[in-house]
């Protein structure tokens, strides 16, 4: 039957397409439904940063796996995702950040990330000659962190899902989860169509809570607005992603493939909700923050600004689990790190679904965990 598959995936961002691809590789038939076009959610609004510098062993190891997957992706997906290990440099301008970074580096190295190291201000200046090091104590630097192009990654996964016999359905909003005897059996679309599968995976990003609610499942994910901007392309300057922890800091990097600078900062106070409105405040403030770090960029022109959602959980860790309704799975709550986590998390999710295991692979990402300490790195 045309409307039946092994797995239905809701959401055409990185989580949905990566999960779908690795499931299709396991020879399962996949049908993916996306309410807009692919990448219309958070993934198409992110700035493409990929780093392994996290503070928990699971996240660090997953990110090391993601980096491995990004590095092999052109070949695996037969496309060009513009993976480039341009590095990440976290900047410390006060003693408490410096101490926190030194502690993190110890944890990261213990987890196997031996590429990360502390650099003092002089070495930071060697890595980024254009960096204004006024007040800088040093930073946490990992040269194997990097960047990739989100649209290319998502489209690469989607094309491979189709190659492997799966189907992709853009402009298809899921409005109902079908179930019988405590098990998910499929979905219903806004146009009334029904599709059936014994497994339904909620990869709805900032909409994860609403999609969970369709199945009567509470998913603790709340959207939060984050803004970004991008400049015209200029000569590639080899600047790693710079992450400035000061109150008026931010993060930005330059894409190697086209020379564009892209960046954002976390607003204070936070802006809850799924608004995608851009503000003039950000359009003035972000350039100030960029020029404070790299004054030489003064004449580079901004061509576009936009906003999107982080998908926040109470403790800053993602959710990768099955829910109380049989066959209903959740992968989300990536808290603003979903693009980088996506490949490894999608792979882990596919393995979890395929294995039929009851216990999720990472207890700290369980749906019904006790939400405690927050992940510390932005």
């Amino acid at each position: 039957m045309a409307n039946t598959s092994d797995v239905i995936i809701i959401g055409g961002g990185i989580a949905g397409t990566a999960t779908g691809y690795y499931l299709a590789k396991h020879r399962l038939s996949v049908a993916l439904f996306e309410q807009g076009h692919l990448c219309s959610g958070s993934t198409g609004r992110c700035i493409g940063g990929v780093r392994q510098q996290f503070t928990s062993a699971s996240s660090i190891k997953l990110m090391m796996r993601s980096v491995e997957l990004f590095a092999g992706m052109d070949q695996e997906l037969d496309t060009e995702v513009h993976w480039h290990p341009g590095g990440y440099l976290f900047l410390a301008h006060d003693e408490s950040n410096k101490q926190a970074f030194l502690d993190n580096i110890r944890v990261q190295r213990a987890a196997g990330l031996t590429d990360v190291r502390w650099v003092d201000a002089a070495e930071a200046k060697e890595i980024v000659p254009l960096l204004d090091t006024a007040g800088l104590l040093g930073g946490s630097y990992c040269p194997t962190d990097g960047q990739a192009y989100p649209f290319a990654v998502v489209n690469g996964y989607a094309q491979q899902i189709k190659q492997l016999g799966g189907s992709i359905h853009p402009f298809s909003e899921v409005t109902g989860i079908l179930s019988q005897g405590g098990r998910a059996t499929g979905i219903k679309l806004a146009n009334g169509e029904e599709h059936h599968a014994p497994v339904v995976v909620n990869c709805a990003g900032p909409w994860a809570k609403e999609v969970g609610a369709l199945a009567g499942i509470d998913v603790p994910v709340e959207p939060e607005r984050h803004e970004a901007l991008i400049t015209e392309g200029v000569e590639y300057l080899g600047i790693p992603m710079l992450v400035d922890y000061r109150a008026d800091g931010g993060y930005f990097q330059q894409f190697r493939h086209n020379g564009q600078f892209i960046g954002c900062y976390s607003p204070s106070p936070r802006v809850p909700g799924r608004s995608a409105d851009s503000t003039f405040e950000f359009l003035a403030e972000m350039p100030r923050r960029m020029l404070k770090l790299v004054p030489a960029l003064a004449q580079v022109k901004v061509i576009r600004q936009w906003a999107g959602s982080y998908e926040m959980t109470p403790d800053g860790n993602p959710v990768l689990d099955r829910a109380e309704l049989g066959g209903f799975y959740v992968l989300g709550g990536m808290c603003g790190h979903g693009f980088m986590l996506g490949p490894a998390m999608g792979e882990a999710m596919a393995e979890f679904v395929r294995s039929g295991e009851k216990q999720p692979p990472f207890p700290e990402f369980a749906l019904r965990r006790r939400f405690g300490q927050a992940e510390a790195m932005k």
């Binding site: 076009h37 692919l38 600004q305």
Partner: protein, 90 residues
């Protein structure tokens, strides 16, 4: 008919007609999807030059009428502005 496939549709991002047609063959049915697959419309002029051409190709390939075509999201700033000018504003 002359072969127009090497013709540039998006001058800012150097996207050829062939690439746009390939995106349509991959399933893109709106200018927004073409933009995300090919970058046509993401350049310096933000699609002012190429949007119409992309829509014409979509219309030709998929038999769309202009009235049925979804508008592309427009984003500020409307003209490229230097980081310095923005940083010095208000």
């Amino acid at each position: 008919m002359p072969d127009t496939t090497r013709q540039i549709i998006c001058r800012c991002e150097d996207v050829t007609e062939e690439e746009v047609l390939q995106a349509i063959a991959q399933g893109a049915a709106t200018a927004d999807e073409v933009k995300r697959l090919t970058r046509a419309g993401m350049g310096h002029c933000q699609g002012r030059t190429c949007r119409r051409l992309v829509n014409q190709l979509l219309a030709r390939r998929l038999g769309q009428k202009p009235a049925d075509q979804r508008p592309v999201t427009q984003r500020s700033p409307l003209q490229p502005v230097s980081l310095k000018t923005l940083a010095d504003s208000h």
